[in-house]
């Protein structure tokens, strides 16, 4: 087993991995940029080293600095978390060359899956069901028109090096194709430094369902059940659950076995996720493989009772999987809400700033993986994910009701968060019935949310009460009013709520 693991990440996932290290008796090493000195992962780690300025390229993406800290601290392994360097084959290679174990798949597996066209070619060979389309980059607009005519519109143009919706275009007719291709190419070039675009038949209103796999370095590969990830805003997952409301035992087994075939074809090791598109007839097609731990891994942990980060570390240290496929037992239902620092009343704009008040939920069926604390200043430089709230229940309705209860207990003051969005989704009749696809959330957000404001009277009374009971709010400059301050003068210090400009 490793003695010391460097965590090349920040935020909630760094805290998550540090906790796993502590549980396994392994020393944890955090790294941090200038703006993360006071972040939770630095507080929680056993050791912590500064790695540069806020810009990720100069800190969390800086391979040589991170390997420098690994050497300095004597770390024998690196956990990359998700994002940043997690799917960077060059980094995995550099770790290997530096004699530090990269906790994840090999650089070769990553490279195969990193190119969407190469992955398609390999999966085609392995007999994995694919969305009809090309497994090579498009040579020209004419070539694209030819393929599109064969598979039929609508089609989807995708960047071979892509991800996160960038370099992606939905095309409904031949007329749109040429300009869409050019747009996709230039966006892909800008975003990934690679303009290669391929074409797939567009699945109308698909679901996005993925299968967790785990493979040790001795040839054993298992699947751990699916995750339903169709609740997305702008191609970004917002809420995930397991099991999927539409997947039964038979479909789970078929999907799981194909996911294992995908992993084996890629000679995959460690934790990975095979993403599928599912059409309205429940046909599923390989979409891509994520060669890392997913943000949404906790829902799988709750329904299987396993700890994926423990298992990642054990596998990387050379251990065999401690169970077989038959031992995997799925029980209950789990749903994850990604709590972001963003403003639901203002088009989900990011909302960095200082957290002035934090009330966190707990109790039965509630897991909270958080990277924030009261008094912490959410930096503007990184992903706005603050925490994940995961609800478990005997069944789906109970998981939902527990999450709603916990969301109502959750309060993050000083910045805006998307907590209200989850109350809305979890209370929606279509969601409750399991009727949704990847377009669901964008459609829901086009409708006006019901505003329940019955307690204005109570708010009015409370405004007065605060003035009486807590009359001298500590000002930011540390100025302190004399205790003889009258309520009236304290009250008049309160400012009118400035109207924000309508920016939607």
């Amino acid at each position: 087993m490793f003695k010391k693991i460097l965590i090349a990440n920040r935020g909630e996932i760094a805290v998550r991995v540090i906790r796993a290290c502590r549980e396994l008796g392994i020393t944890s090493v955090a790294v941090f940029s200038d703006v993360d000195r006071a972040s939770l992962h630095v507080r929680k780690a056993d050791e912590a080293y500064h790695i540069g300025p806020p810009a990720a390229a100069e800190s969390y993406l800086n391979i040589s600095k991170i390997l420098g800290v690994a050497k300095l601290s004597g770390a024998d392994a690196i956990h990359p978390g998700y994002g940043f360097l997690a799917e960077n084959a060059e980094f995995a290679q550099a770790c290997d060359e530096a004699g530090v174990k990269f906790i994840g798949p090999t650089a070769a597996s990553m490279e195969m899956m990193g190119s969407k066209t190469r992955a398609r070619q390999e999966m085609e060979k392995a007999g994995v069901p694919l969305v009809p389309g090309t497994s090579h980059g498009l040579e020209s607009a004419e070539h694209a028109e030819e393929v599109a005519a064969t598979i039929g519109y609508p089609v989807m143009l995708k960047a071979a090096a892509g991800g996160g919706g960038k370099g992606m275009r939905l095309v409904h007719s031949r007329e749109e194709l040429k300009s869409a291709l050019e747009g996709a190419q230039s966006e892909a070039l800008r975003s990934f430094g690679d303009g290669e675009i391929y074409i797939e038949k567009a699945i109308v209103n698909p679901r996005h369902i993925e299968m967790q796999v785990l493979a040790d370095e001795h040839g054993n590969t298992v699947y751990l059940g699916e995750r339903e990830c169709s609740i997305q805003r702008r191609h970004q997952k917002v809420l995930e659950e397991s099991p999927s409301p539409i997947v039964g035992p038979e479909m789970r087994q078929r999907m799981g076995e194909i996911a294992v075939r995908v992993a084996q074809a890629a000679k995959y090791t460690n934790a990975g996720t095979v993403e599928f598109l599912v059409d309205q007839e429940k046909n599923f097609y390989f979409l891509e493989m994520n060669t890392r731990l997913q943000v949404e891994h906790p829902v799988t942990e709750l329904i299987t009772g396993l700890d994926l980060v423990h298992l990642q570390i054990r596998i990387a240290s050379g251990e065999k999987l401690p169970f077989t496929q038959e031992d995997v037992r799925i029980r209950g239902h789990a749903i994850e809400c990604r709590i972001y620092a963003e403003d639901p009343d203002n088009n989900y704009f990011p909302s960095p700033g200082t957290i002035t008040l934090l009330l966190a939920p707990s109790g039965p069926g509630i897991r909270r993986d958080s990277g924030m604390y009261e008094g912490w200043k959410v930096p503007i430089e990184y992903d706005p994910l603050l925490a994940k709230l995961i609800g478990y229940g005997t069944d789906r309705p109970q998981a939902i009701s527990r999450l709603v209860r916990a969301l109502n207990e959750y309060f993050v003051g000083g910045i805006k968060t998307n907590i209200s969005l989850f109350r809305r989704i979890l209370g929606d009749a279509d969601f409750e019935a399991g009727r949704f696809d990847t377009g669901y959330l964008d459609r829901l957000l086009k409708t006006k949310p019901p505003e329940v404001k019955e307690d204005a009277d109570v708010a009015a009374i409370a405004a007065g009460l605060f003035t009486v009971l807590e009359p001298a709010p500590a000002a930011a400059n540390g100025r302190c009013s004399a205790s003889g301050t009258t309520n009236a003068s304290a009250a008049s210090g309160w400012r009118k709520a400035a109207r924000t400009e309508a920016l939607r």
Binding site: N346, P350, G353, T356, A462, A463, A491, W494, L503
Partner: protein
């Protein structure tokens, strides 16, 4: 004590006194059976006719909000003896409108030039923060009078980015 309280734009006259550990409370003249205790900084427990409310106070440089359960109310409280006017010119559809940076970030792209005609809702510039690019749109149909922020500039929340007239 008497206070003028404005909640979500609506005015209330609140009388609040405490004698012998009991609250006397009148809202717009109506007596309210009420008990309250500050449980911790910025969190009140209020009982009104047996109903229990957990109320959170949220203050920023410019705003005061009260959360009753999960609902958020804009609050303003005035000493009624001060007689200054209530409207500080919130601005309507007429006249120039400012585009304000909703969060700190970096201006990565200008989408129109100065003096350009824009529709209501049309993107004027793009600000990047927390790995997301956000289009700042015109609040009204009109002419871009001024682009205050330049491409590449770092801006703070509340900075004026452009003016549309």
């Amino acid at each position: 004590m008497t206070y003028d309280v404005i909640i979500d734009g609506k005015s209330y006259r609140l009388q609040l006194d405490r004698t012998d550990g009991r609250w006397l409370c009148r809202l717009d003249g109506r007596e309210v059976q009420m008990d309250a205790v500050l449980t911790r900084r910025d969190v009140l427990s209020v009982l009104v006719d047996g109903k229990a409310y957990e109320i959170k106070r949220e203050r920023t440089a410019t705003d005061l909000h009260l959360w009753v359960g999960s609902a958020r109310y804009a609050a303003e409280l005035r000493d009624p003896r001060s007689l200054r006017g209530r409207k500080d010119g919130a601005g309507g559809e007429k006249g120039p409108r400012k585009l304000i940076a909703p969060m700190p970030g970096k201006v990565v792209r200008l989408l129109v030039a100065e003096k350009a005609e824009v529709e209501a809702g049309q993107g004027v510039l793009v600000v990047e923060a927390m790995k997301m690019q956000n289009e700042i749109r015109s609040p009204k149909k009109g002419t871009v009078q001024k682009l205050v922020a330049a491409e590449g500039a770092n801006v703070n929340a509340g900075d004026v980015l452009a003016i549309v007239e």
